[in-house]
Amino acid sequence: MRRGPPLPLLLLAAAFLVAPLVLPSFYITLANYIGLASIVALGLVLITGIGGLTSFGQAAFVGLGAYTTGFLTTAYGLSPWLTLPIGLALTAVVTLPLGLITLRLSGHYLPIGTIAWSISLYYLFANLEGLGGYNGMSGVPPLAIGGHELNSGADFYYLIWSVMAAALATVHNLLDSRPGRAVRSLRGGGVMAESFGIDTAAVKLVIFLYAGLLAALSGWLYAHFMRYVNPTPFGLNASIEYLFMAVAGGASSIWGAIVGAGLLTLLKYWLQDLIPKLIGRTGQFEIIVFGILMVLLFQHARQGVVPLVARRYLKPRRVSVPRQAAPLAMHASYESVDFERYGGRARYCAHARYGRLYQWVMANEGRVALLDADSLVRGDLVAATQGLGDIALVYAVDEPIWHRVLSGFSTYRPSAQSRRFLGRMAGLAALNLTGGRARYSLDQTALYVCATLARADGTPIDTLPLEYCDTTFQDHSLVWSVTQSKQLAGRFQELKSRILQRDGEEGLVLSGQR
């Protein structure tokens, strides 16, 4: 972690402070929109990029915040400062049951569920009596701080960006904490996190709630900034745009929220200006460009803009090896791998390491150390020298999940049970692979095939006894197989040779040296 804010960051902050004094009011308004959107996008970054969940319903939460204050301040004359906690509480009341129902389901139900409630809430806003229907409510009072009414765009600029800065600091601190590491370990399925004793359902619910509250906060600001509330900005399209912002900026970095919100807001205004001139008609044509850009982004730079730039222009954080880290008993050389320096070869080393590690664990039953959730995501070399064993595991955060899942076996005390667990992990790794998290390399394929074979023979994956283990090197890649019996091993070898012959065909990429 950095010791203090670097100079560019300070300059940026200074530029932010003086901007309203020098920029024309149109740009201030634009900056306010960006600020409002980035508060929502920050919540999405937290749940989507870092927690691995997806919500297409954030705009509905923005609407909840905006409508609560809009209704209560116009109909009952409540103070905006009173409606803020009410709006947040209402959002919590809506979010928690929705989260409880959908968060424990596998990946794709959550987006479908969120789309559904997004539409339901939209029609509710538009049709509930007293909320002004599609025309909305006007006359929302301005915010006042100590008698000073915030009427100008510049006043709001400072408020919005202060809120944004506070939200950013909170999320940043959260992610650096122990619970934050639990959040980060969610990405990639959470099986691994669970095997480390993290209550993933609770963690998911908390970040989902937090993202909802950020959205409601943004909605509250929006209502008092615009002084007007209508259903359109809280529909499904708006939700999709928020998600695009989070993803475009770089869903795994909290700065991605600002960058994404900025890029997409500017792009939207530019396109809304440009397209009518090009085709002579007005309408929501910018969504064509948005859609296609998003597809291209996913096809070519799935990490988003921020990591792309960071990788190119910023010095990567060095993976440091603690001095007291005891070398892996048998293969110290693999542990001294410097991920940055070896570049492309690091992955090959990772393959080899886990293969060797596996052998080592098999040969040294009773001397495997325990790791905890912190080591899961710390991204550096973890030495676990707790008297029993002298084993060290390496995780780089950007390693494919199956590496991490595979190494999960070391969390269990070795026994017949841990062997079963290892078999199960192999199966899970195989399933993760079929989820498309990494391109197939040979050992992954081997794992998959043997897991399938085991299943075909009626053996549940998690009771696979792993009596036969075969580890060989071929073309710099590790062929690693665990099968149930010698007889199955024969079939496995046959399949393996067939896979080898198909090298390069249809994505069965058989190499570890990419």
């Binding site: 559904a116 409630w117 029609y123 509710l124 064509i288």
Partner: protein, 364 residues
């Protein structure tokens, strides 16, 4: 959305047996179309793991093309079809040249350049002459179907190994783009065509009647489902699709190409979407952005079947149709909210069941 029942809704009506029958009839008619869409969604998801939200755009493209043809206009999507065809052909030819498989080039040009060109030429030639209805319908469907494999090739095939979540976000992005293109090519106004049949059979009891339109919609849906059944059970490509759906890697090991399975699945889904569109637009007015709600109702249906079971998806879609028609009777302003809140109990049930399975695993 595709409800023709608002005509029965007046302030004075109380729900009685007759109205209930009418609502059930409407629900089944709409549900039949949702069922087709739910089948398409399950098919695409099983084969490619894409939750294909833009299915709704195939519906509106097919429907609005027919409306344009009836007005004697050339549907704007001919240009989309041409451009997409050329783009895909170019990509495929470059890929073929790079891998040295030049023998594939004629087939590529035929599929992605010649066929779309023929369909476009035919449309541009026939459109002003107002051909018979059957020809118009055939042209509308032929304009949309090639867009299916092109969508797969351009947007999803490069991401074939991405996670379900990534594929879904991309599907939403594609929906965005296609909806915008729909606005560009068809304009913002709504269209409707005359019912395909004006026949009516009174079932006694006064207002109760079955219309020819009802029979067309339900009949076409059932016939298409039967055809799909035969396709999946009796033909080699159908069996290959099923194999891919059951186990992608396994299917690949026995020589079924995941790419061509994806192409086939997307072709089928575009076909089903276009046919559904042609059916729906005789029932209700469609706009360029009507596709989303229609597709989402198919989704709700397929979620009832947990996005894996075909018969359950059909049952779920029928349920959606019925719920929508009764919801419209009681609270027409909230009918969308009512339909989508159906998801809550279903998701709750799925989540309880998922929990149960987890527990079982824990105990072993």
């Amino acid at each position: 959305m595709i409800a023709g029942f608002s005509r029965y809704r007046t302030r004075d009506y109380k729900l009685n047996g007759q109205i209930a029958l009418l609502l059930i009839q409407d629900g089944i008619v709409n549900g039949a179309v949702y069922a087709l869409l739910a089948l398409a969604i399950v098919l695409v998801f099983a084969v490619t793991r894409v939750l294909f939200l833009p299915q709704g755009e195939f519906v509106t493209y097919g429907a609005l093309s027919l409306a344009a043809l009836q007005l004697g206009r050339t549907p704007g999507i001919v240009w989309l079809l041409g451009a997409a065809g050329l783009l895909v052909a170019a990509i495929e030819v470059v890929a073929a040249l790079r891998s040295g498989r030049t023998s594939r080039i004629p087939r590529i040009l035929g599929l992605y350049a010649a066929i779309p060109a023929a369909v476009i030429g035919l449309t541009v030639w026939l459109a002003p002459q107002k051909p018979p209805l059957a020809v118009q319908i055939a042209l509308s469907i032929a304009l949309v179907v090639p867009l299916g494999p092109m969508t797969w090739r351009l947007f999803f095939q490069p991401l074939a190994k991405a996670s379900v979540l990534v594929l879904f976000i991309v599907a939403v992005a594609v929906h965005f783009a296609l909806q915008g293109l729909g606005l560009l090519f068809f304009g913002a106004e709504g269209f409707r065509v005359a019912p395909y049949s004006e026949a009516r059979w009174d079932l006694g009891a006064g207002t109760m009647a079955i219309t020819g339109q009802t029979l067309w919609m339900v009949g076409t849906s059932v016939a298409l489902m039967a055809l799909l059944y035969v396709f999946f059970e009796r033909t080699l490509p159908g069996k290959a699709l099923r194999a891919t759906a059951v186990n992608r890697v396994g299917a690949r090991l026995v020589g079924i190409s995941a790419t061509s399975a994806g192409t086939l699945a997307f072709t089928l889904t575009a076909l089903i979407g276009a046919i559904s569109g042609v059916l729906i637009i005789a029932q209700t007015t469609l706009y360029y952005d009507s596709g989303l709600l229609i597709a989402l109702k198919g989704f709700v249906g397929s979620v009832v079947g947990a996005v894996v079971s075909y018969p359950l998806a059909v049952a779920g879609a029928l349920l959606v149709g019925l719920l929508e028609s009764f919801g419209a009777f009681w609270q027409s302003a909230y009918k969308e909210a009512i339909v989508f809140s159906l998801l809550i109990p279903v998701l709750l049930w799925l989540s309880l069941r998922a929990h149960h399975i987890e527990e079982e695993e824990e105990e072993e």
